[in-house]
Amino acid sequence: MALAKFDIHHIARVEGHGDLFVELKEGKEPRVEMRITEGTRLFEAFLRDHGHNEVSHIMSRICGICSHSHAIAALRAVEAAMQIEPHLQTHQLRKLQLIGDNLASHALHINFLALPDYVGARNVIEMLPKYQEEVQRALRLKKLANDLMELIGGRHTHALCAVVGGYTHVPTSSQLQSMRKRLQEAIPDAEAQIELMGMFAEPKLVRRSQYLAVKHAKDYPLYEGDLVTDKGLRVPESEYTSLIKERNVPYAHAKFSEVEGKPFVVGSLGRLNVAKDQLSDNAKRMTKKVGLKLPSYDIFQMNLGQAIEYLHYLDQSIEIIDDLLTQNLHADIVDYKTRSGSGAVAVEAPRGVLVHEYRFNARGRVLAADVITPTAMNYSNIEADVRSLSPVLQELSKDEAELRLNMLIRAYDPCISCSVHFVRTA
């Protein structure tokens, strides 16, 4: 007999459409299903035959919230396939776009999607009367990130001037300088955001899983590197299939993933647990100040982790801009020859590791595409977390239990549209 059943339809304050089904049974493993109901979009199928220089603008439309991450992963994969080597300036501008994506998404998730639960509100509007200052700050932090993306990519959602081999347009030095000033001035806001999220030690869900990020020798996870887990596994990004294994589940329009047959976590805790030593000094100082011990195996600390990353990425973007200001910036696209080949890369999208892979024919047309999104990587771990939460669920009232489940899922900041049915095309 079922002890309790939860059937949460259309989880709110996440991107896309998904349901959670949980059935607790006497003396049996609970049944947990993350039912991904988002409609099918078939990107990998309709992308075939498109030109290599059309890929990034199409794939950007997978997701509005992390459009820059998809676009840049696509550009890097195309370049890997055709052995195109863009100039340093291009890599740095792209890093700024990726940072913008991470900052904007983190600000949105922390303040608008996760925070209402912690203060007993259903949305940010209900928070307004009591938390005017926090909401205003959130809007400032979000706007700054949007303006950064717009400055580099031409638009905050679906950038347009980043192309294969370079940029059709670049910002002027004075634009970069004034952006640098604003990023610098945002540091106190970013610190206040960390202190706010540091106040919520409850609820907790501590379960040692595996943590995965794109690790680079010099920088905190972001733009390129190896796929590295906290348990010491390491493969080059191009060999992701040897590490991440996907499987179909009958109740979801998305594939689930495992590493060594077990669930794993990507996102802020994935990055922090794998690369905490690479945080900026400011971010390290604040991590200590709020008492976050790393590595952390408490999944609810994903929210605080994002707040810490907001500060880190601010610092990193200032460094990049300083470097760009010493160069003579100009619209620059390297010459290249279209050729056949395949390329696979991984970048850090706001929600974690994002893999793009393409294969092209000699005319540069897409033969096959494969995308694994961070949300799809996390589904298996979400289910494992829900299972381990089941003793607690039985003690809570129905409403409290449902709220707890919603909060758990929202801690992952899932992006359901992103996750839907990305699998290798034949």
Binding site: R13, G51, T157, H158, T168, S417
Partner: protein, 263 residues
């Protein structure tokens, strides 16, 4: 905006899409709190766990209808809304979702899912106005936040929202840009509806047509221009279909001019 009357009940809905158009509204940081002061935003799944069954004074819908459940949902929204607004390319011209149209959907599904028996999706993606009566459309992929504010302001003040019935080229020339067509690029600006402020050509990238067809678009002369620049048949078709595979004004003429059966 007048505040004497009760605030209109407004809902935001998403069908299958990237949610970028809703995000564009959330991204109106400077105006957001002001806007929320003038409307009663009751349904916004992306931002709120509160729900409201309607009726709504104004309902904005982004995304495309890809299955029966979404079609039912859209019909319910129509019945529950005084004013129904289709928002973004997905909802007005099919957007990238409609690239599948005319292709072999069974093969598509199979290539993505392997065993695709559980995947239920329409072979054709149509603009929302082909499914239900739509009162207004906001174009773009994504929509422009500024156009959204202008539109809402007009509604709230009882004015008729203004349609831009001229092409991106007009905005582009006002900005005194060098024309990219003259530099050999393939730009859809001459036949695309204005509204974005000629965003792409101003940044050195040719227009891809995301605002959809301008009324009385001269598609034939655009196709000829592309061909003169050496564009292959395939490339012309892909350019027109990227955001507009479900825009009848484009597809009819493209089909006729290039004699393509499957479009």
């Amino acid at each position: 905006m007048s505040t004497g009357k009760p605030k209109p009940v407004v809902a935001l809905y998403g069908l299958t899409c990237c949610a970028g158009c809703q995000l564009e509204i959330l991204n109106l940081e400077d105006d957001l709190l002001d806007i929320l002061g003038h409307i009663n935003l009751v349904q916004f799944r992306m931002g709120s766990s509160a729900t409201h069954p309607g009726p709504y004074d104004v309902c904005f819908v982004e995304g495309s209808v890809t299955n029966e459940a979404e079609l039912t949902r859209l019909k319910e929204l129509r019945e529950n809304s005084k004013i129904l607004v289709a928002m973004g390319a997905c909802a007005t011209t099919g957007g990238v979702n409609a690239i599948r149209n005319g292709r072999n959907i069974e093969e598509f599904k199979q290539s993505v899912y392997g065993d695709a028996s559980h995947v239920n999706t329409f072979p054709q993606i149509l603009p929302l106005k082909s499914h239900v009566k739509i009162d207004y459309e906001l174009q773009g992929c994504p929509i422009s936040g500024q156009e959204f504010v202008e539109f809402l302001t007009a509604l709230l003040t009882g004015a008729e929202p203004r349609e831009k019935n001229y092409a991106v080229c007009v905005e582009c020339r006002m900005k005194e840009n060098v024309c990219l067509m003259k530099e050999g690029e393939l730009c859809l600006g001459p036949i695309t509806r204005a509204g974005c402020g000629a965003l792409c050509p101003s940044l050195g990238f040719p227009c891809e047509g995301c605002w959809g067809p301008v009324p009385q678009a001269n598609v034939e002369s655009e196709i000829d221009m592309f061909s003169q620049k050496g564009a292959s048949f395939d490339l012309v078709v892909r350019k027109f279909r990227m955001f507009n595979a479900s825009a009848e004004e484009f597809m009819k003429q493209l089909k006729r001019r290039l004699n393509i059966e499957w479009l």
